[in-house]
Symmetry: C3
Subunit: 423 residues, 3 copies
C-alpha cells in the first residue's frame, strides 16, 4: 500500500463512531478485513479479563442539543466527538445553566472540540467548541442522546502472518477512538500495509486490532499462555503526523526490539525515550506480570501535539508521506529481525585474503575505501560467535543492510558460517 492508499483508508474509517465496544469497532474491522484476513473475536459483557470485567456494549444512533428555534447547536451527525463516549441515554429540556455541567470545551483552543469518554462511571455529556458555547443563550434546550448501554460484546481482531518459526512479533494498535485520524486510524492503516507487505517471513507476525486498555487486557487474558512466544513487539499509534519518529523503549529497556529500533532510527530524524507506564497499550504488555519486550512507535508521541484528542486531529492532520515513512521504518526493523544472526569467521587468524576471492578491489594505496569492503572487514573482525550482525552495524556505524550483504558475500565465499540467532 502506498502512502496515498493508507491515507484513503484513514479517510474511509474516519466517520465511524468507535468506542471500546459497539458497532463502530465492528464496522472498522469490517473495512480492514477487506484488505487483510482477520479473526474477529466477540467477548461477552461480564466476562472477567484479568483484573477487569467486560462492560456493557455501547451504541449510539443520534444526539443533539436543539435551541429554542429548533436548530441543532451541537449535532452528533456532524461529528461523533460531540458526545462523551459511553454517555447514557438522555431526553430532556433544560436551561443552559442546567446543561452546563455536562458540556466540555477547550477554552484555550476555542475553535476545537475535545474528545472525552466515561467508560466506567455512568454519566452523559457533550463536547463542543468554546466558540459554540459562547454563542449559546439561556435556552431552554432540547437535549437528546439516543444511545443504548446493554449486554453485548467487546470486539477485537487478529491477523497472523505465519513464519518458519513460532517466535512471534506482535504489532498492536488500538481501534477504540472515534473520529481522530492520527490517534489511531493512521496506526491501523500502517499496520494493515505492513501486514500486506510481509511474504513468507522467518518470524511469525501477529497483528492485534483491539480497543485500548480493556481490549489489550482482554487479548492478554485470553492468550496468557502464548505470550511467551512474543520475542519482539510494538504498539503503533500516532503514525501519520508530520513530526519525526519517536520510539519508546520497552520496560526492559534493553530488549532486542529496543536495540533494533535504535539501529533503524539512527540515520533518521528521531527521538528515543525510556519506558513509562503511561501512553498506549505498552502499559499492559509491559505490566510486571507479563513484562513483554514491547516498545511503542509513534511519530509525535502521546499528548505531544495541540490537536491531540481534539477535532483538529482530522484526516488533514495526517499525511501520506508520513505514513509511508512510518511504514518504511517498520520495514527496516522487519529486515533486521528477519536477517540478523550471529556468525563465525572461519578464517579468524589475520584477515583472509579477500582479493584472491574476488571480494576486494586490487589497487591498493587509495584512501577512499568502499562501504562494502569496510562492511566485510567489520563482519570478519566481529564474527566470533558472540556478536550479531546488529552488533556489527552498531559498532561500525554502517547500515544494517550493508552489513547483512557483507555477511552474505562472505558466507558465499566460505569465510563465514551462521551459528545462531541475532537480536
Amino acid at each position: 500500500m502506498t502512502g496515498e492508499e493508507m491515507h484513503a483508508l484513514v479517510e474511509r474509517l474516519y466517520p465511524l463512531c468507535r468506542s471500546i465496544t459497539g458497532d463502530g469497532v465492528r464496522a472498522t474491522l469490517g473495512i480492514v478485513g477487506e484488505l487483510l484476513e482477520l479473526d474477529v473475536h466477540e467477548v461477552p459483557t461480564g466476562t472477567q479479563v484479568l483484573d477487569w470485567t467486560i462492560p456493557q456494549e455501547w451504541n449510539i444512533r443520534d444526539a443533539y442539543i436543539k435551541d429554542p428555534a429548533g436548530n441543532r447547536v451541537v449535532d452528533f451527525q456532524r461529528s461523533n466527538l460531540h458526545v462523551v463516549g459511553y454517555s447514557v441515554p438522555v431526553s430532556a429540556t433544560m436551561t443552559l445553566a442546567e446543561l452546563r455541567p455536562h458540556l466540555h470545551t477547550l477554552p484555550g483552543r476555542p475553535d476545537l472540540v475535545p474528545y472525552r469518554t466515561s467508560y466506567y462511571a455512568p454519566t452523559w455529556g457533550f463536547c463542543l467548541s468554546q466558540d459554540t458555547l459562547d454563542g449559546m443563550g439561556e435556552g431552554p434546550y432540547e437535549v437528546v442522546i439516543d444511545s443504548t448501554l446493554a449486554d453485548g460484546h467487546l470486539t477485537y481482531a487478529e491477523h497472523v502472518v505465519p513464519g518458519r518459526t513460532d517466535d512471534e512479533v506482535l504489532i498492536s494498535c488500538h481501534v477504540c477512538h472515534p473520529s481522530l485520524a492520527n490517534d489511531n486510524l493512521a496506526g491501523i492503516a500502517v499496520a494493515t500495509a505492513l501486514a500486506r507487505r510481509l511474504r513468507e517471513p522467518r518470524l511469525t507476525y501477529r497483528f492485534v486490532f483491539a480497543p485500548g486498555t480493556i481490549g489489550a487486557i482482554t487479548w492478554l487474558a485470553r492468550n496468557r499462555e502464548s505470550t511467551g512466544r512474543i520475542r519482539h513487539g510494538l504498539t503503533l499509534a500516532c503514525a501519520g503526523d508530520r513530526g519525526a519518529l519517536t520510539y519508546k523503549r520497552s520496560r526492559r529497556g534493553d530488549a532486542p526490539v529496543d536495540r533494533v529500533m535504535a539501529a533503524v532510527l539512527r540515520d533518521r530524524p528521531h527521538t528515543i525515550v525510556d519506558f513509562s507506564p503511561y501512553g498506549y497499550d505498552e502499559r499492559q504488555y509491559c505490566s510486571p506480570g507479563f513484562d513483554l519486550p514491547v516498545g511503542s512507535l509513534t511519530r509525535t508521541p502521546y499528548a505531544g501535539y495541540p490537536e491531540y484528542h481534539t477535532s483538529g486531529d482530522d484526516p488533514g492532520f495526517v499525511s501520506p508521506q508520513a505514513m509511508a515513512d512510518t511504514l518504511e521504518t517498520l520495514w527496516s526493523a522487519v529486515e533486521v529481525l528477519e536477517h540478523d544472526g550471529r556468525y563465525q569467521n572461519l578464517s579468524p587468524y589475520g584477515e583472509p585474503q579477500l582479493g584472491r576471492r574476488g571480494l576486494y578491489g586490487s589497487l591498493g594505496g587509495r584512501s577512499d575505501t568502499k562501504q562494502a569492503q569496510l562492511a566485510m572487514l567489520w563482519v570478519l573482525n566481529l564474527s566470533d560467535g558472540e556478536h550479531s550482525l546488529l552488533d556489527v552495524a552498531g559498532r561500525s556505524g554502517l547500515p544494517f543492510g550493508a552489513v547483512a550483504e557483507a555477511a552474505a558475500a562472505l558466507e558465499g565465499a566460505g569465510l563465514l558460517k551462521r551459528v545462531g540467532e541475532g537480536a
Copy 2:
C-alpha cells in the same frame, strides 16, 4: 529549630576557642548539650587510637604582641584566630625580624586573618592581617602566648536517637575549629536541629560531635566493632554559606546514601562530586579498612570560598535561610531513609482497574494526568520485588514523596505488599 535559632546558636558558639582538645571543645559541647542530650567522652592523653596517639591537651588564656608603646598590635582577646593552634607558651621580647618567621598572613587578602594550626610539631605563631603586618615597625615587641600543653583528654560527644531497628545513620561533624562560622559551627547547628526534629524513627540516628581527624579516628577506634551497624552516613560541614549544596559521594560511589542524596538533590540547585580522600572526616570513615557508606554534605565545599579558613568566615558569612535549606535537604533524605522499601504488585498482569477502587479519575480522554495517578502507575509497574520506591522515583522522575504516597494508597487498596528494605 528555625534558621534564626540555628544562627543564634552559631553566634553563641563563635567566640569560643576550640581546638582538637581543651576547654573550648568542652564549652561547645556544653552549649549543644543544653539543646540535646549528649554522651560526652573524655579520652586520656597517650591513648593509642588506630595509628595515632591522643596528644597533650592544649589550653590558652591569653596571647598578644605588644608594641613599644604598649599597644596590643595582635590580640588573642579580639580573635582566637590570632594564635596558631597548639602554640607552645612564649614570653619574650624580640624585634620584628626575629618575630617575622612566626607570623602568618594572607598577602592576597590583606584584610583577613588566616587560620593555622600545628598540632603535632611543637612550635608557636601568630596569624594576622597583612595590613596589620605592614603597619608594624621594627619593635622591639613583647610577645606572649599564655598557653599550656599538658596531659589531659580529648573530648567528643554522641547523641543517639534510637529507632525501631539497630541499623544506624551516622551524622558526624567536626568541633575543633575556633572562630569559624561556616566551618563548622553551621554544621553543628544543623546537626543539632536535625537531631531535635527526629521522633521515633525507624532507623537509629547517631550524631557524633568530635574534633576533626583525631576525633573521628578516636571514635572509630573505640567503636570498631559496631561500625557494621552503620547503613548510611554523612559528614556535615560548611552548612551555612549562601552557595548551593554539594554532595560528595562515599568511597563506594554507589552506596544507598549516594543514591538517596542524588534523589533528594535532584530538584534543588546542587553539585555532586566523586569521593576524594581529602576534605572532612569522610576521609577516616571511608579509609579502606572501614570503607563505610559515608558521604559528605556541604554547601560550598572545602576550600571553595575565599573566606575559607580566615577571619572572613564569621557569623555574617552564614545565613539562617541557608542553614534552614541544609536542614530541609537532610530532612528529605531522612524521609527517604525512613520510608523507602521494596513492594510487590499483587495484581501484576495488566494494570489493575484503579477507577473501581476509587484511585483514579473517571473521565477519560484528558491529557493532563495528575502526578498522583502517574505515581500509582509507576509504583505498580516497577513493584516486582526488585525495585525500591527510590528506584521508582529515580526512573519516573517523580518526587519521592509522591511515590511513597502512591505506594501507601495502593497498599491500602490491597494492590501492593511491602516485601523488603529499600535504599
Copy 3:
C-alpha cells in the same frame, strides 16, 4: 635520539624504494640496523602464511615515460612514487590514449603525485601529477618499467629488549611504503629511538619492522604460539606530522594498553577513537583469532590529512618536535607499564599519621595542599589490593608519576606493600 636525529633518519630513509618485498626494505633495515641490533628474517616466495602466500619479490631499477623529444616526462629517478608498486616490466611505445588507462593522478590536488600499488593483480602503471598529465601531448611516448617479479623473499626484522619477565610489549611499524615520510618513516624513527632508550626494563619489548599486512601476517604465522606472551602492543604510524596525537583502542576496547594510553594522553591534546578493522597492522593483531591487546598510536590518523599517500608526505611534512613528542608519549606509557602495580595499605583503618613519619607538612589549616600529599592520601585510600596505581591516577586525576612516587614513599615508610601486577 633527539627529534633532530630522528628527522635525519627519516631523510636518510626517504629516497629508498620500499615495497612489501625487495631490496628497498633490505636497505631500510640495514640503516636501522646501524642504530639497533636487528634479527632480519627472509621468508621465501610461496610460503603459506595464515590465509596468504608470500608473493614473488619485486625489484625495480628504472622507469620513465619519454616524450617524442626524448625528455623523461615521468621519471622514477626523481621519485619512486611515480611507479605503481609491483608494476610488471614494460617496454613499449604508445600514444597518450593508449597510455592513459595506466596513469593515476589526483585531479583535486593537481600538483601532487599519488601513491598506488597493485601487489596481487599483475598490472603496471604510473603515478603523476594532474599538472604533468595536462601538459602531455598525444605522443607517441616511450614507456619503460625496468622491474623484475621473481621468486625471492619477504624481509622483516625484529629487535628485542629483554626484560626481567617474559611478558612482552609489542611495537610494530610497517616498512613497506616508499618515499612517504610520515607514513611510515617517522614511525620507524620513533620506534628506533624508543628501543635505544630502554635500559634493563621489567617487561620485554619486541619491535617488529615488517611490511604492512603481509608482513604482519607473516610475523603472526611464524610466532603463533608466542603471541600469548604479548601483554600490551601498539602499532606506530604517522608519528611525525604536526597534528595532535590519536590513540585507537584495541579491539577489546578495555585492554590495559587502552587504559594506559588514555592515562598518558589525558594531559596532552589528543583524540581517542574506538577500534575499527581498517588502518594499520592492528587489523591483523586484532583479528578475532588472535584478538591481541594492540592499539594504534598516530598523530593525525590514517587518511586524515590531504598529503596522505601523496608526494606531499615528504620530510618537510614531519617535524623533529612532533617526533620527539610522540617519543615522550610512548616513554610515559613505558613508565606506566614498568611501574604500575597493585598495593596493599598496611594501616588501612583511618589514615595513618603521615606527619610523624616525615611524610606530611606539619602546619595544618592551609588550603593549598601539595600534590605529593594528595597522591599519598589517594594511594592509601585505594590500596586495597584491587586498585592499581593506574586506577589511582585515573580516579584521582593526578599524574601517574606523582602516584608512583607516593607509592614508593609509602612503601619506604612501611605503610604499603606491593601485592600484584598493575595494568
